[in-house]
């Protein structure tokens, strides 16, 4: 048995920032399914939004975020994020983050989609990587305890209070219980619910699914961001920076088709708008092979590409065999970001006492119905820090909450029961689930298809209950990991689909062909969902509107 003041689950930007903040006043441990530097935050390319320039303003950043999220974001939380942004950027810079610089030596900023000003601080196209490594250096400096490759099995909640977690140590296969006065979830998104996703293989929403099972309220699960430019074939991310630096989108007639969809911002309209435009072109026969369009960066020239887009060039070359200096790149939309997550306030506090959440696994909600590029990295450091501070504060005034002493044993028994030499594993089931999500719950949605998806998911769930892990032994048993992750994906996919079916309007990234308009009278509220018995129960959550009443959203 291990015990700490604060247990952070997840070691990406949000988790590390939370752990560092909490460690100033509390004992802290981090549990993560990977080594910290291998977290998915490292793949983020574009940048961190912050109104640093005297010509820019926090108010403008707030407005762009509110409008970008199609008025579903909570404006009080957005104000917190945008106000604290400059401070956290300067703090990261002092800690050693190597931001790209402008001529005068200040931090350079670039344009990303949906922003009225070049507001994203960046490090070439390795923005997430450089900050992840900076925070990892700080973790070494503070000598924080990390339990790497520990997988979350269960959150310990007793009488409505969270008091720790049960984990699987993949190295030796042991089931371990960690008690804590406060638990901070920072487990990232759940893009692997979709077959076409930019997300790392590890983004299976373990924390969100288990928080739901432990009774926490989730919010806005139906809002899934599809990134406009992912590599055709592998769906590896091609940064929005490619368009921020001036790249064009072309259909099979060589037209810059964005002028029909967003004549003002063109390729730099928000992601939901651009992803729909691309999908519409493909749907109407103006794509290639009915699958993709082209991202053309040839006119940017070799020097700018080398300086600002080195990773984009490398990824295109390696995974598509395309040299972007000379050829246009085949791209298609793919799942990229989960706007929904564990509902929490601006200090990370969820509906479960002692359980906090931050980063992509959380829903504060700053992104509303559609996240802007440059706001997710920002969210991780702003709200990671806040969750860490709050966790330490709470831990200072409470003792270790009681937990069910048999919980660990129950998890061991559960795992032992699924290890069976004969029977179906989860590999095929997982493929069917994620393909179903891409086919029926993607950029364009429709009531009939969503209904069919709900029905199919019931069948998949039944098969999952019969599934086995066809091998003995718990040490580095990746078939077991696959089994656990598939369970989480099933839980979350069902909530995404049901939420999408309920919401009979189109808002941000959620687009219903049968309800193509936004409906503020009926749907200007969050979709809350929590588990009662085995069933999800949905309710309406109020949206905080402080300054900006909903207006029509055009670009």
């Amino acid at each position: 048995m291990h015990a700490y003041d604060v247990l952070v689950i997840g070691s990406g930007l949000a988790g590390l920032r939370a752990a560092l903040a909490a460690s100033e006043r509390a004992s802290v441990a981090i549990v993560s399914k990977v080594y910290p530097t291998r977290s998915h935050s490292g793949a983020a390319q574009g940048g961190f939004n912050a109104a640093l320039s005297p010509q820019d303003s926090v108010a403008a950043h707030v407005f762009d975020t509110v409008k970008g999220g199609d008025y579903l974001g909570d404006q009080d939380a957005i104000e917190v994020m945008c106000t604290e942004a400059p401070g956290v950027i300067y703090e990261l810079e002092r800690l050693g983050t190597l931001f790209s610089r402008s001529e005068d030596g200040s931090i350079a900023q670039r344009s990303l989609g949906g922003a009225g000003f070049p507001r994203a601080c960046f490090a070439a196209d390795l923005s997430g990587h450089v900050v992840l490594h900076t925070l990892y250096e700080q973790l070494l400096r503070r000598q924080l305890r990390v339990y790497p490759e520990w997988h979350l099995l269960r959150l310990l909640v007793k009488d409505g209070v969270c008091g720790g977690a049960v984990c699987l140590d993949l190295h030796n296969g042991r089931v371990e219980t960690i008690r804590a006065k406060v638990v901070v979830l920072a487990t990232g998104g759940f893009g692997r619910t979709f077959s076409r996703t930019t997300n790392s293989l590890i983004c299976t929403g373990d924390g969100v699914a288990l928080a739901y099972e432990a009774g926490a309220v989730l919010s806005d699960m139906e809002f899934v961001q599809f990134h406009p430019t992912t590599l055709y074939g592998t769906n590896i991310l091609i940064s929005e920076a490619a368009r921020g630096e001036g790249g064009y989108l072309l259909n099979n007639r060589g037209e810059r088709f964005m002028d029909r969809y967003a004549p003002g911002l063109m390729e730099l309209a928000p992601r939901d708008v651009v992803a729909r435009a691309i999908q519409m072109e493909i749907k109407n026969g103006r794509g290639y092979e009915d699958e993709y369009v082209l991202l053309d960066m040839r006119h940017l020239g070799q020097d700018l590409i080398r300086e600002r887009l080195p990773q984009v060039r490398e990824l295109a070359e390696r995974y598509a065999g395309v040299d972007i200096v000379r050829e246009a790149l085949p791209i298609q939309p793919g799942q990229h970001y989960s706007m929904g997550g564990v509902r929490c306030d601006v200090w990370g506090q969820t509906s479960v006492d002692g359980l906090l959440a931050c980063g992509e696994c959380a829903n504060v909600s700053v992104h509303g119905a559609n996240r802007l590029g440059g706001n997710s990295l920002l969210e991780t450091v702003v709200f990671g820090r806040r969750a860490g501070l709050k966790a330490a504060e709470l831990a200072g005034s409470r003792t270790l909450p009681p937990v069910d002493p048999a919980a660990g044993e129950r998890e061991s028994t559960r795992l032992a029961a699924v290890m069976h030499p004969a029977g179906e594993g989860v590999a095929r089931l997982r493929r069917e689930l994620t393909t179903l999500m891409t086919d029926k719950v993607g950029v364009f949605r429709e009531g009939g298809e969503l209904g069919a998806a709900v029905a199919e998911m019931g069948l998949l769930r039944r098969r999952y209950r019969e599934a086995v892990v066809p091998t003995g032994g718990l040490s580095f048993n990746y078939a077991l990991v696959d089994y656990l992750e598939t369970g989480h994906l099933l839980t979350l996919a069902e909530l995404i689909v049901r939420g999408a079916l309920r919401r009979t309007e189109s808002r941000g990234a959620h687009y219903r062909l049968d309800y193509p308009r936004r409906d503020d009278a009926g749907w200007l509220h969050h979709t809350f969902v929590s588990r009662q018995g085995e069933e999800p129960v949905f309710s309406e959550g109020e949206v905080s509107i402080t300054q900006y009443a909903p207006k029509e959203r055009t670009y």
Binding site: V34, R38, R101, S102, S200, T234, F476
Partner: protein, 231 residues
Amino acid sequence: MAAVTFSVARYAPERDDAPRLEDFRLAVRPAQTVLEALQEIRGSLDPTLAFRSACRSGICGDCALMVNGIPRLACETLVRDVAVGERLQIEPLHHFRPLRDLVVDCEPFFDSLRAVVPWLVTRPDHDGRMTREAAREVEATNACILCGICDAQWEGHEVRRNAPGPGAMVKAYRLALDSRDALGRARLRLAVELNLLSPENARTLQALCPKVVPFGDEVFPALRPFAVQQE
């Protein structure tokens, strides 16, 4: 493309004294990566095969392993580029302790960073500015993803706690070159002691680095005066 035979190292400490090779035959698509091939082996031939993977796009370093005796990222390596006579040998990273199949003990590698004071000791007079040139000087070493490939390649090396290998030295270089760092060039004493500055050494490591971190040709000139001074 024709079928390729993957000779994959298998090792279970409770069963084997040493790793042994097991052959899997697989029809390989054009442009299929070694990681995708391993996933297919695990998915349809042997669910017990243990190997790590995460980002599948060359930014996390989790899938580093030996392909035909050379350390590489499985997700960045195309089967057709490395198969020799339709055969391919996959082993765990050299110089790391094998734990199971292709999974090695990474703990000592990450711990080895501690020996080089692996964080920026910010100069008290740093005002938040940094010239473009100064930033550019650090950029290439800053791309390191801590995959461990250089440690697996460095001859005679054994990855140990508190024994900095090339991976830890890249961190030291990166910080030593940072105009905001108070320790600066003083960080390089270790590098000199390790003889990592030998141009030949550096060229080999740079050639294999997935991020083409300049262990040698670009960084070496900046470090040379210091190296000479130490001798």
